[in-house]
């Protein structure tokens, strides 16, 4: 697994270019945010602190917002909710019983009354008892009522992804299940600065959002994060590395692995363009399409098992749009079709080596 120094460097990379500016090669996004003209002071903090800041701001800016879940009262098992109960009181920040379907069902009721209900699921691996409430209730709440009711104030946060020693039940990436559900949004940040802005956008978006946080990055990723209130837009992908030979698409912690592969590929003269999808549904097809029209090649990488993973949707959509432009089949470098194994984690995961091999074989197709 990547060392902590890599993550700091990734964090320090800062957004190279936003979707709109990529053709001009200009830097936008957080550089502006951090500049002296922009939003004020920024400090290097890790992911859980960035999430914590977002939650503080969310609760401060809307008195009818709530944070709850298992163990959030004392700060949470990943410290994302530190200080919230002390500052906003135990009626707004509270522990719930150990029951994910109750957490989400209760949250839907709160959100249906116009509150911002920020529910935490302790690990994405445990979100499944709440799947019925998410799929049958939250996602359909507005539609089935003819827009008389909605639970748009609902945000469900859960740590996801490989962590080095998590095994079957502390490592899963279940995003694909949720990407198949019309009516909700699925958002996954790649870094502290992105996470704070995306979480605030998710909380304030008038639709229910499932927000997966890469747990590996909670402590390991450190980045300059503005202290103020800011939002990163949903459903806008970002080109975080420009290139001309192949487009790589990913999200969350996987992007840093992909970036290492891009750097190595460059030594072999392959210029890689790397895109952070950020929002998986509704996803920004145009940015990816524009990039593939430029490069003619696409590689998608995610930790989740390859079969039925979200890479399949990206691949199918891009083939529909860019068939004649494509120089090679779309490559998917993903997790194996197995439960997440413990000691075999390095072999299970879509590692830098696997991605590099796939980049080369796609370019040399």
């Amino acid at each position: 697994m990547a060392s902590s120094s890599i993550f700091r460097r990734i964090g320090g990379l800062v957004v190279l270019s936003s979707r709109r500016a990529c053709s001009r090669g200009l830097s936008t996004g957080s550089e502006e945010l951090i500049s002296s003209r922009g939003i004020g002071t920024a400090k290097p903090i890790n992911l859980f602190s960035a999430i914590n800041q977002a939650l503080h701001i969310a609760l401060e800016s809307d008195p009818r917002s709530y944070v709850f879940g298992e163990d959030v009262g004392f700060g949470g098992v990943f410290r994302c909710t530190t200080g919230l109960a002390d500052r906003f009181g135990k009626q707004r920040v509270f522990n719930t019983p150990l029951c994910e379907q109750g957490i989400v069902g209760f949250a839907i009721g709160l959100a249906a009354m116009g509150n911002r209900a920020i529910a935490e699921i302790q690990f994405a691996d445990y979100i499944f008892p709440a799947f019925d409430q998410i799929v049958n209730e939250a996602s359909k709440f507005r539609y089935r009522s003819g827009n008389q009711f909605n639970c748009g104030g609902l945000t469900i946060r859960a740590p996801y992804g490989a962590v080095g020693h998590g095994g079957h039940y502390h490592s899963q990436s279940p995003e694909a299940f949720f990407c198949h559900v019309p009516g909700i949004k699925v958002v996954i940040p790649r870094s502290p600065q992105q996470a704070k802005g995306l979480l605030l956008s998710s909380i304030r978006d008038p639709n229910p959002v499932v927000f997966f946080e890469p747990k590996l990055l909670y402590r390991l990723a450190v980045e300059e994060v503005p202290e103020k209130d800011y939002m990163v837009p949903l459903s806008e992908a970002e080109v975080i590395r420009e290139g001309s030979d192949i487009t790589l698409v990913g999200w969350g912690a996987q992007l840093s692995i992909m970036e290492q592969a891009c750097i190595e590929a460059e030594k072999d003269g392959i210029s890689c363009e790397l895109i952070d999808l950020k929002t998986l549904i509704p996803w920004d097809k145009e940015t990816v399409e524009a990039s593939v029209n430029k490069t003619g090649r696409l590689l998608v990488s995610h930790e989740a098992p390859v079969t039925g993973g979200f890479g399949a949707e990206i691949s199918a959509s891009i083939v529909e749009r860019c068939f004649l432009r494509l120089e090679a089949p779309v490559s998917r470098v993903c997790g194996l079709d197995t439960p997440f194994p413990l000691v075999f984690e390095p072999f299970y995961l879509p590692s830098k080596i696997k991605i590099l091999d796939a980049i080369k074989s796609t370019v040399n197709y």
Binding site: R64, F74, Q91, R92, F94, T96, P97, C99, Q101, G102, V104, G105, F106, A107, I108, G109, L110, A111, A112, M113, G114, N115, A117, P129, D132, Q133, N136, E137, K140, F141, R142, Y143, R144, S145, G146, N147, Q148, F149, N150, G152, P182, G183, K185, P206, N207, S235, P282, K285, E286
Partner: protein
């Protein structure tokens, strides 16, 4: 007691290995006591009891240490009662008896009733109802019964695809609604159209939803009888069972936090109480101290499953105590009893910020839905008996007649009027167009995302190319 000993016996070596496990525990006095008394402990309950009480205060006090330091430590052992211990969760007394709590109570929980089967008052403890309210209750019960009968016939004729009746549960529907205020939010299952009727939903509005025409507030998206109305504070019905119960709890919590003088009520059947959502909601309601009335219509049947294949508890009312929720069992066919119980529950829920569970015993005199023929799994005589002898509408009428508030002439007029109103509403609803095809794509999100915009264009092309009739 033997169980205790072996458990502690196993813990002991574990503790010896991990010195720092409990941090402050002093090993020698405690562990030595066990080794000394290992054999003797099984002899006398007195000694083992004494050992248990000897567990050092430091063992449990470390837990309190992890909480804020300024919190007062609850005394762990009551000086006046050495037969008790303040376990996490509170003081518990010890007993030397190896005694199990029976799975069944001595007697089934009694059922609150105000009106006897002949409409006579049999209780002195009930809420007096205003004459106008009582008359509206009766009229709405008759209207509900009529609407159900006519819509059922309409489904049989193929004019609507599906329908759900509440035959036999008119008192549950109307009387519970009458005891609430409009500010109280309703989270229904799907057999509570009467609650919506009470609140002012018109027959035409019911018909429009059943026909899924463009006047349907749900925009034709759901099956018939899946009503919802924000102006009546009645959340949209979904076919899923019991999923609404935790919603009602969350919404009640919101009312409490907003300082509203209102509660939520959620309805569900006997079958619904077997679900995980029921359990989750009851527990959350108690822990969050939410002002919610959890109203169970125990009508004896979940489609073809009778209650003895649904659960083995004494119905639903006894579950209340299991969660720390106050509960009552009422005669669901007795409008006055239902009214009083809901009225009282509402006051408790709001003033004490507490959930209340009401189990209304009743009978599903109709089929589960129009897709069901219940004579296939229950005797026709049983259905007939309940329909005749326990009809809540008839019982309430008898009481009204006894009060001089109703008479046969009014009855005939009301029934004719109601039937005509329903028939007319059906004829009108049938002729109104369905919603525009655009409504497939709206309200999935607040604003349609690009993929839906694309799909709308694509569907439009299909319709045009093949000249499909999208006016349906």
């Amino acid at each position: 007691m033997a169980l205790y000993l072996s458990k502690y016996g196993k813990i002991l070596p574990h503790l010896q290995r991990k010195k720092g496990f409990l941090g402050l525990i002093s090993r020698s006095p405690w562990s030595s006591r066990f080794r000394q008394n290992g054999a003797a402990l099984s002899d006398s309950s007195r000694t083992s009891h004494a050992v248990l009480c000897e567990i050092p205060i430091v063992f449990t006090s470390r837990r309190f240490e992890s909480v804020r330091a300024d919190k007062e430590l609850i005394p762990l052992q009551s000086a006046s009662d050495p037969q008790a211990l303040n376990f996490p969760g509170g003081i518990v007394k010890f007993t030397p008896e190896l005694k199990f709590l029976s799975e069944y109570p001595e007697e089934r929980m009694h059922c609150y009733r105000v009106l006897g089967e002949n409409g006579e008052i049999v209780s002195s403890n009930f809420v007096q109802i205003d004459k106008d309210i009582a008359l509206k209750m009766y009229k709405d019960m008759v209207t509900l019964q009529t609407m159900d009968t006519v819509f059922y016939e309409a489904q049989r004729q193929g004019r609507i695809s599906f329908y759900v009746t509440a035959i036999g549960e008119e008192a549950v529907n109307i009387a519970s609604a009458a005891a609430l205020r409009m500010d109280d939010l309703v989270f229904p299952q799907y057999r509570e159209a009467g609650v919506l009727l009470w609140r002012g939903f018109t027959i035409q509005e019911f018909a429009d939803q059943c026909f899924g025409n463009k006047n349907d507030y749900g925009k034709g998206r759901q099956m018939p009888a899946h009503y919802g109305s924000s102006k009546h504070n009645y959340f949209t019905i979904a076919s899923t069972v019991a999923t609404q119960i935790p919603h009602a709890v969350g919404a009640a919590y919101s009312l409490k936090m907003d300082g509203q003088d209102a509660c939520t009520i959620t309805y569900f059947g006997d079958g619904g109480t077997s679900t995980g959502d029921f359990h989750a909601a009851m527990n959350f309601a108690a822990v969050m101290e939410a002002p919610v009335i959890l109203f169970c219509r125990n009508n004896g049947w979940a489609i073809s499953t009778p209650v003895d294949e649904q659960f083995r508890s004494d119905g639903i009312v006894v579950r209340g105590q299991a969660y720390g929720v106050r509960s009552i069992r009422v005669d669901g066919n007795d409008a006055l009893a239902v009214f009083s119980a809901v009225h009282a529950a509402r006051e408790m829920a709001i003033s004490e910020s507490k959930p209340v569970l009401i189990e209304a015993l009743t009978y599903r005199a109709g089929h589960h839905t129009t897709s069901d023929d219940s004579s296939r799994y229950r005797p026709a005589e049983e259905i007939e008996w309940w329909r005749a002898a326990q009809d809540p509408v008839a019982r309430f009428r008898k009481w009204l007649e006894g009060e001089g508030l109703w008479e046969a002439q009014s009855e005939a007029e009301l029934r004719a009027y109601a039937r005509n109103e329903v028939l007319r509403a059906i004829q009108v609803a049938e002729r109104i167009n369905k919603p525009s095809v655009e409504e497939v794509f709206t309200d999935v999100y607040d604003v349609p995302p690009p993929n839906l915009a694309d799909q709308e264009i694509s569907l439009g092309e299909t319709i045009r190319r093949h000249q499909l009739d999208s006016s349906v």
